[in-house]
Subunit: 154 residues, 2 copies
């Protein structure tokens, strides 16, 4: 066994050059594969919109020079919960070959640090009802499984 | 019975002057009352952050010159789902005295129109597990109750 990689992982904003790898990570998943598609212009347009937004960050986790994880952070200002800014976390993925070694936990810890830096007092995310392992993971981080999540194609 | 108000309702961006009413609407709710607080500087700061964001809109519903509903829209760019932009809907409220008359449906229809105008292909929201009436309402609009919603104080 190599040493646990979670302590060696680093985080940075994704660049345009990371995109094929980021799309592959997001698609390497039984739930998301069909709807993510293979890398193409729509993903580039999505990346450019994230880069143009002051409230969105696409973050990659790097280990030994390789991108091994990804997540998107959105900082959402608001009125409810006494004017709280929320941290919305989407598209959390860790390389399938490296799961169970603490990388997901390191990724979420970094998400929460970035949220606090941006003044967020609440983190929120949704997870497909099929992903029971992910639900256990989020509960283990202290998340309350308090809400139902709804989606509608427009 | 007065005529159904849903056909007469209009929508516009909230202004600073609407805030006390908006906070009262958000707080007039068994689930949210304790955590919303009464109108104060934190809500003003939240409003100013929404106004400063290119991807957030605080929308009010008006009927006969009165604010009778509110919701917040966030347009979230992304990589997953083939580079989809998502419409996030938060803090949906209708005046308690006017519920059951189609105002909530009109509000959500407007939300979806605004989302499409901004290029969103998916609407998403979460609803506290205690709000079973709300869950029925969202399902009646075509939403799939497909996800678990998680929250963590930061």
């Amino acid at each position: 066994m190599p040493p646990a990689p979670a302590s060696a992982v680093t985080f940075r904003l994704a660049t345009r050059d990371d995109l094929p790898r980021v799309v592959a990570l997001i698609a390497d998943d039984a739930v998301a594969a069909a709807r993510t598609g293979s890398f193409g212009p729509a993903h580039v347009a999505g990346f450019e919109a994230i880069e143009a937004s002051p409230n969105d960050e696409l973050v990659v986790a790097e280990l030994d020079g390789e991108v091994v994880g990804v997540m998107q952070l959105t900082f959402v200002p608001g009125i409810s919960r006494n004017g709280a800014t929320r941290l919305l976390v989407e598209a959390v993925r860790v390389d399938a070959a490296l799961r169970g070694q603490g990388l997901g936990r390191a990724l979420m810890t970094y998400a929460h640090e970035r949220g606090r830096e941006r003044g967020c007092v609440l983190a929120q995310l949704t997870s497909d009802k099929q992903r029971e392992d992910a639900h256990r993971f989020y509960r283990s981080l202290g998340y309350a499984q308090s809400h139902e999540g709804f989606k509608l194609p427009l």
